[in-house]
């Protein structure tokens, strides 16, 4: 690899809105909210921002950001990369600082879906013949195929498979209930999860994340400035994107048991961050749990679990808040919903808070702490598209020296 981002940029501050069905808020309202929370956290004013990267799947141009924030003629790039949109905005902002062009930039993501009048996303396609050929496909259908194949390959009965993926969602709800920024803040028992109405067989309602509104933002600067202004800045260790050539529906080698693009992005990220054994070295992760099976398979793709063995780790609580490698510490997409353009930065926000020991700033009153003991490295992962073809982001952040 010709260069590495490891420890070349730092996060000075972050902000995140409450996620959910924000009937009360427009995209502009959400952007202003997360941006000003990030400014306050970083201890800067908007006038210090030199450039910005905006992630959104529903807006167009950087004016979506410059207009509500009244940013005066700044260079702003609007970025879109499906569910990796926010993370890719962050990645590009980091590169600009690492390149020495700027030393104080904003990466921000937003999406406002709950004005569409429907649950879930649309079919996402544009007119055309091939679109007509794969007519009216839905995300749950595409991800359900991972479950069909996984259950079949590893000899799981329907009940065993449903229990495994149900346990994934159960765990996230256990975490989300403690988070006052989450969309869904109720615990859900495993029987309810397993027996919920079918959305796309074998995925039921609670195997699917919701669609919501939200925004999250990060201020990125140089390590020198960060250390001068903050006692505990968070450093970027790795930023990797991998774009699949949509091989799943074309190529018979694609096994629908794993997502190759995640493997590729993760291995490059581990190399960039100097990580040999992620199961031991990564303290915590926020991964793309658009569907419960996605999270399960991602655990193997990230080498958190051995290939074909994730069921043991899930059922044994390895990824629970008190497990060896907590995943979806904030509740994940399962509890936050998925405003696509914001999700990657929302995940990063949780890693950032945990690394600074501040996770309980968002604790729901009366609930036990969400703060992990001394995390060193946090990983975030996004999967944009569907298993057969997707945009993958894997990023790692950590404390200085980690």
């Amino acid at each position: 690899m010709p260069g590495s981002i490891r420890d070349r940029v730092a996060i000075l501050g972050m902000g995140c809105t409450r996620f959910g069905e924000r009937w009360d808020a427009s995209a502009a309202d959400l952007l202003v909210d997360s941006a000003y929370k990030a400014f306050e956290d970083a201890g800067i004013g908007p006038e210090e921002i030199q450039a910005a990267w905006l992630g959104t799947t529903t807006g167009s141009t950087g004016m979506v950001l410059s207009e509500p924030l009244r940013l005066p003629y700044l260079p702003i790039t609007r970025c879109e990369n499906a569910c990796a949109t926010a993370s890719d905005a962050f990645r590009n902002a980091c590169y600009a600082v690492a390149a020495g062009i700027y030393d104080m930039v904003l990466a921000i993501g937003v999406d406002k879906f709950k004005d569409s009048g429907i649950s879930g996303l649309g079919d996402g396609g544009s007119p055309g013949p091939s679109h007509a050929m794969v007519a009216e496909s839905t995300p749950p259908r595409q991800f359900a195929m991972l479950a069909t194949t996984y259950f079949n390959r590893y000899g799981l009965s329907y009940e065993e498979g449903k229990h495994m993926i149900g346990r994934v969602s159960w765990k996230s709800h256990q975490n989300g209930v403690r988070n006052k920024n989450a969309h869904f803040q109720q615990p859900v028992d495993l029987d309810t999860i397993i027996n919920a109405p079918m959305v796309a067989w074998p995925l039921g309602l609670y195997d699917c994340c919701g669609v919501s509104d939200g925004s999250a933002a990060a201020i990125i600067t140089t390590p020198e400035i960060a250390k001068a202004r903050k006692k505990d800045p968070v450093f970027v260790k790795a930023l990797q994107i991998a774009m699949a050539p949509r091989d799943g529906n074309f190529n018979t080698n694609f096994d629908f048991l794993h997502v190759e693009a995640t493997v590729r992005a993760a291995e490059r990220a581990y190399e960039e961050a100097g990580i040999k054994n992620p199961r031991e070295e990564i303290s915590m992760a926020e991964v793309h749990d658009c569907f419960s099976i996605t999270e399960a398979v991602t655990m193997e793709d990230l080498r958190f679990s051995p290939r074909g063995k994730v069921r043991d780790d899930i059922e044994n609580g390895f990824f629970d808040l008190d497990g060896k490698l907590p995943v979806q510490v904030d509740g994940g997409l399962k509890c936050f919903g998925h405003p696509i353009g914001a999700s990657g930065l929302r995940m990063l926000y949780e890693m950032y808070l945990q690394l600074q020991g501040r996770a309980d700033e968002l604790l729901n009153p009366g609930y036990p702490s969400r703060q992990l003991p001394n995390p060193k490295l946090g990983l975030t992962h996004n999967l944009g598209g569907s298993p057969d073809g997707c945009a993958i982001f894997v990023g790692i952040v950590g404390l200085e020296g980690a």
Partner: protein
């Protein structure tokens, strides 16, 4: 020599017991009727029958497709060319639609035979398909069924010759559908029976027999079409046909298939025919065509089809009248909680014809990998999936390949006319993969590793036009 060189048929998978209709509206129902799926029409059923007929035959050797139906989805747009392209019949084929009359099927047969005998065409495929809709609670709802047949005419290894034909054309309007009618209108049935059906078919039959110097006793099988069992039996008695001579109308187990009935009965007769047999086919609709066929010793060589007999075995009882009404859009459904699908683009559809209709992919000339490039933006592969060679492909057809299910899901969110939508990723025998919707399947029979075959179906309806594409269905024989 010229004549029939192959035959095939198609009966839709679902059969609606007439008792299920009677449960809704009262009365008694006996037998069952074949009902086309929500995504089938006379074009797709013609393709299905055509695939059966062209089994083992290179479709590129066919010089024309004559498609007969009274249920064209269009007033202006050729059905035959959509079906011919899906069947991979060549571009310079002399395709034509035969329409507007229940005799259209036999008109197409005679036209095909004439063109072959005249030497102007080498091989002609004739298909007849219908799916007339009966209004709820009416007699036609009980009577009408859906189906198709296909007959290939040519010169080589002729299995059935046409010895002669005789036509009576008479504007006796016992049944009609005006341009904007959904349902068939009738004059008082006694008029049609007494002045029409009980006289004219027999007159046509006598005409052809006299012309050929034959008598009814020389005929092994009479395929006398008919709209209902009682009048059909009455005419058989009047013509003094023996039970052995009388070909099944399939009114009881398929229904009255309109234009397709005569050709489906002919296929049924050919399935049982012996060399030397003579068959008399008599259609009915604003007159009659009577055609005498003579079977040659080649007949045994073309019986490897599903035909009528095979398709009658491949069936699923549809025990829901509501589901039938929904398929036929006879009830107003609650609006879907999904955004409307984007409109199809005619220009893009045309550009991608090679994939959309005959289901061509490509095979890499460098590494030999078959590949079906079904992306959202294009179906034209440029760079090989396997060896990355650029634009080194030859055409490779997938429609005639079977496949194995690699993964699937039953999608309850997508909505549509017949939820859930089953989507499956299938690996084709011989290589190549694609994701397709699966139809004519039971949810609980779907398994990783199950065998499927391709079936041509409607995909969506926008701007007054259908788009068509291939789906997969379980192999059932």
């Amino acid at each position: 020599m010229a004549g029939i060189v192959s035959y095939g048929a198609y009966v839709p998978y679902y059969r609606l017991p007439r008792a299920v209709i009677a449960d809704m509206w009262g009365g008694r129902g006996r037998g069952e009727k074949a009902v086309a799926g929500f995504d089938e029409d006379p074009i797709t059923m013609s393709v299905a029958a055509g695939l059966d007929c062209l089994k083992g035959i290179d479709p590129r050797t066919v010089d024309a497709l004559f498609l007969a139906t009274t249920c064209s989805p269009y007033k202006e747009r050729q059905n035959a060319t959509i079906a011919a392209t899906a069947l991979d019949i060549k571009r310079n084929a002399r395709n034509a639609d035969f329409a507007n009359c229940l005799r259209a099927g036999t008109s197409a047969l005679m036209s095909a035979d004439d063109a072959i005998k005249a030497g102007s065409l080498g091989q002609v495929l004739v298909t007849a398909a219908d799916m007339r809709l009966g209004g709820a609670a009416g007699e036609d709802e009980q009577a009408f069924g859906d189906g198709a047949a296909a007959i290939l005419f040519g010169h080589d290894n002729v299995a059935v010759e046409i010895e002669g034909s005789y036509t009576i054309s008479e504007d006796l309007a016992d049944y009609w559908r005006a341009q904007d009618d959904t349902f068939v209108r009738h004059w008082e049935d006694r008029f049609g029976r007494e002045e029409g059906y009980m006289k004219i078919p027999q007159e046509a039959a006598n005409g052809v027999l006299k012309k050929l110097g034959l008598e009814l006793k020389d005929i092994a099988k009479v395929c006398l079409t008919g709209a209902n069992a009682r009048t059909h039996a009455a005419l058989c008695r009047k013509m003094k046909l023996t039970p052995e001579q009388t070909q099944d109308t399939y009114l009881d187990n398929i229904g009255n298939t309109g234009t397709a009935q005569s050709l489906m009965m002919l296929v049924g007769a050919l399935e049982e025919a012996k060399p030397g047999d003579r068959i008399l086919l008599i259609s009915w609709g604003n007159g009659s065509d009577a055609i005498v066929f003579k079977v040659t010793d080649q007949i045994e060589n073309i019986k490897n089809k599903r035909g009528i007999k095979g398709h009658l075995q491949i069936k699923k009882i549809l025990n829901s009248y509501g589901r039938y009404l929904r398929w036929r859009e006879m009830v107003s459904m609650a609006p879907p909680a999904r955004p409307p699908a984007g409109a199809a683009s005619m220009s893009a559809q045309w550009r991608e014809h090679a994939t959309a209709l005959p289901l061509y992919g490509v095979k890499c000339k460098k590494c030999g990998t078959p590949q079906l490039y079904l992306s959202h933006s294009s179906t034209r592969a440029h760079v090989c999936l396997e060896c990355h060679a650029k634009d080194e492909f030859e055409p490779y057809r997938f429609a005639d390949k079977q496949g194995t299910v690699t993964s699937f899901s039953h999608d309850f969110l997508a909505g549509g006319i017949d939820p859930p939508t089953t989507a499956a990723v299938i690996d084709f025998d011989g290589g190549g993969r694609g994701q397709f919707n699966m139809v004519d399947r039971e949810q609980d029979e779907c398994k990783v590793g199950m065998k499927v075959e391709m079936t041509f179906r409607k995909m969506r309806y926008t701007l007054g036009a259908h788009t068509y594409f291939w789906k997969c269905k379980p192999v059932r024989d």
